[in-house]
């Protein structure tokens, strides 16, 4: 499928409160095109809650329930249950939550919703920080990254949320990236047709959060995939399929671009290079990515 096959209808209206170059809005436009009109969004505290703009106006042309930070999965469960009772299970119920509201404070409610087999799509748009509150570390923040709460660079590695979600044995777990809109669109379309819990995690490179110029958003996502830092995959019925370049990486047919190339373009990693190269930390980061692909090969090869 090609970009021209994507529907024209916009469910995210222009003139929102998003930063120029915001990846969340890029993702949302594609995701909402895949979902269509019969969609209810659940949005916890996150950038998108602000992007909606303020009362009495909204930039969203689908029904949207804002909810407390930790509660997306539970609120979605309630909506799904109500719609089922009213015979309206033809309406997509979709959580659109940041990594904070997914990896950290929101993990319990999400996990509970999955364990109950709630018929909804949980989309985590991951910009690897608590962005809305001003760039603090989250459970998704990569090793070595500057944030306002990891000033000399994060000392820990991010959670493997994909593995955590796969362990819930839900019908569909996928990763995506805003730089690959056809792939994201297809995954949302597929998820929409499956009954049960679906999870899609979308990498959303954030210009102010990662410290890069606002015109490089799409490029940053692409490079994350090309370096192997961000894998694109689908996990369905306990079968793992990698997509696009990630598949070529997995099959050993594509030599990953150096991770450094990705790190160097982001101000949040600049302390790893200036004033002096921090070889040890750069190597640790690279090893983390190597190990991830090694684990993939062992588990799914």
């Amino acid at each position: 499928m090609a970009l021209k096959d994507l529907p024209r209808e916009e469910y995210l209206l222009p003139g929102s409160a998003a930063c120029p170059g915001c990846p969340a809005t890029i993702g949302l436009r594609t995701v909402l095109k895949a979902l269509g009109k019969k969609t209810i969004l659940v949005v916890p505290a996150c950038c998108t809650a602000v992007i909606e703009s303020w009362y009495p106006n909204s930039s969203f042309n689908v029904p949207l329930l804002n909810i407390a930070f930790e509660a997306s999965g539970a609120a979605a469960s309630g909506i799904v249950s109500a719609l089922k009772q009213k015979g309206r299970d033809d309406i997509n119920v979709v959580v659109w939550a940041g990594d904070g509201g997914t990896y950290d404070i929101g993990i319990q409610a999400m996990s509970g919703a999955f364990e109950r087999g709630t018929d909804f799509i949980y989309i985590c748009y991951n910009n690897q920080i608590y962005s809305n509150t001003g760039i603090q570390r989250s459970g998704a923040t990569p090793y070595g990254a500057w944030t306002t709460t990891t000033v000399s660079g994060k000392g820990e590695f991010p959670k493997d949320m994909g593995a955590i979600v796969r362990a819930h044995r839900i019908p569909y777990v996928a990763t995506a990236c805003i730089s690959y809109p056809e792939d994201l669109y297809n995954k949302v379309r597929k998820a929409k047709e499956i009954r049960g819990s679906k999870y899609i995690e979308v990498l959303t490179p954030c210009p102010p959060g990662w410290r890069f110029p606002m015109d490089r958003t799409v490029e940053m996502g692409r490079l994350a995939v090309e370096t192997g830092v961000w894998p694109l995959y689908e996990y369905e019925n306990e079968e793992m399929t990698f997509n696009g370049i990630s598949r070529a990486i997995f099959e050993g047919k594509y030599k990953r671009k150096p991770v450094e190339d990705w790190l160097k373009l982001q101000g949040r990693f600049s302390h790893l290079f200036k004033p002096k190269r921090d070889e040890e930390r750069i190597k640790r980061f690279e090893k983390f990515v190597d190990d991830m692909w090694e684990r993939f090969r062992k588990e799914f090869g």
């Binding site: 602000v50 539970a74 109500a82 309406i91």
Partner: protein, 385 residues
């Protein structure tokens, strides 16, 4: 109409069933557990109209109810103490979102240490959330109040959530006879919910996005007005119920022997029932005492309090304490009277942590006030009189 003899919790579950909620999302906690278990039994027997979501925490229970209610469902849940406290954030959320959720809170003391017995600190701590609060003193009142709560909550001029509270173990696990109307009769009293706002792809709205300071106060004022409207509707609903089903427990308050009383005892929940016996005993001694049992703590019955204070001094008995100040009923009674009454008001606190309070204890407290021994707030549990 049939008579059912069962525990407060089972009666609550029965009322919830007959109200025909679309969604129940709940999490177990002592001493509420037998409610959720009874509902599960109804579900297994195919007797329950709604969808039952076994959520993984109370915060999620209220969040799920909010989602369901926003999608147009009639929703019900139940909790107690720590569960209530855990969902505190979402109690605020539900009320600000004007969602007519009905919840049972089985009163239980708050820890640490773990204390499963009853006082009203848990629900009193929620009095600022915007929820309407009812305190029950019998299983019949539990049944009646739950069904009436849906009618009140869903009324077009109210649209606020309602919590029905009653004492853990004292009522929750004690059996009493309860007159239960037929489903058809309940349906006639309680029509289907008509949401005042709803998540609907045919009419997309965003709920709860950023609101600027200049717009926020109107949301709060509308909630206040809604509770004022509730004050007027509560007597109507109680009387309609009495006409249809024959049972009645008072309106915002229940008065007992107040007409010629020189002293009126004000209290709530199980102590309200126990107090009736104390009043009877004191009357036998020739003391002119009465009881005003507070049913609705929110909206607070200020007008009723002023009326009681016209010809009587007031003896307030709280089974809760706002640490650093007084029992909440004591404070709010005085606040209702300020500048408008010369009545004396005496404050007693008893039964914290479920410490037993019998009618003999209540007689002691009332006599303490009548005999002029009151100097300041009395902590009866600590040997105050």
């Amino acid at each position: 109409m049939k008579v059912v003899v069962d525990t407060g919790n089972h009666i609550a579950a029965l009322a919830a069933k007959l109200a025909k909620p679309d969604v129940v999302a709940a999490y177990p906690i002592t001493p509420q557990t037998t409610i959720v278990e009874k509902i599960a039994e109804y579900v297994a027997k195919g007797e329950f109209s709604g969808d039952y979501v076994c959520v993984e925490s109370e915060h999620s229970a209220m969040s799920a109810c909010i989602g369901a209610s926003a999608a147009g469902a009639r929703t019900f849940t139940a909790t107690s103490a720590h569960g209530l406290l855990l969902m505190h954030e979402m109690l605020h959320w539900a009320a600000l979102a004007r969602l007519p959720i009905v919840m049972v809170n089985v009163n239980r003391a708050v820890g640490p240490g773990w204390n499963i017995w009853s006082d009203q600190n848990d629900s009193m701590a929620q009095r600022d959330t915007g929820w309407i609060q009812i305190y029950c003193s019998s299983n019949q009142e539990i049944f009646d109040s739950i069904i009436q709560a849906f009618k009140l909550a869903e009324h077009k001029d109210v649209q606020l959530p309602v919590m029905v509270c009653y004492d853990g173990f004292i009522l929750s696990h004690t059996s009493m006879p309860v007159k239960v109307p037929e489903q058809k009769e309940i349906d006639d009293f309680l029509p289907k919910r008509e949401p005042k706002w709803v998540l609907d792809p045919e009419n997309p709205v965003t709920h709860g996005n950023i609101i600027m300071p200049k717009d926020y106060p109107s949301i709060r004022k509308a909630m206040q007005d809604a509770q004022e409207n509730a004050k007027k509707l509560i007597p109507d609903i109680a009387r309609e119920w009495r006409e249809r089903f024959g049972t009645y427990h008072g309106e915002l308050i229940e008065r007992y022997m107040c007409d010629d009383a020189e002293y009126i005892l004000l209290t709530y929940a199980a102590l309200g029932a126990e107090s009736k016996i104390a009043i009877n005993e004191l009357r036998k001694e020739g003391k002119k005492v009465g009881l005003a049992r507070i049913r609705f703590f929110r909206p607070f019955p200020t007008e009723d309090i002023l009326d009681l204070a016209k010809n009587s001094d007031l003896i307030v008995l709280d089974r809760s304490i706002s640490i650093g100040m007084e029992g909440p009923l004591f404070t709010e009674v005085k606040s209702s009277l300020y500048g408008k009454s010369d009545a004396k008001v005496f404050g007693y606190i008893a039964g914290l942590g479920g410490k037993d309070v019998t009618y003999k204890d209540i007689e002691k407290m009332v006599n303490h006030a009548i005999d002029g021994k009151y100097r300041e707030v009395v902590w009866y549990d600590m040997g105050g009189c």
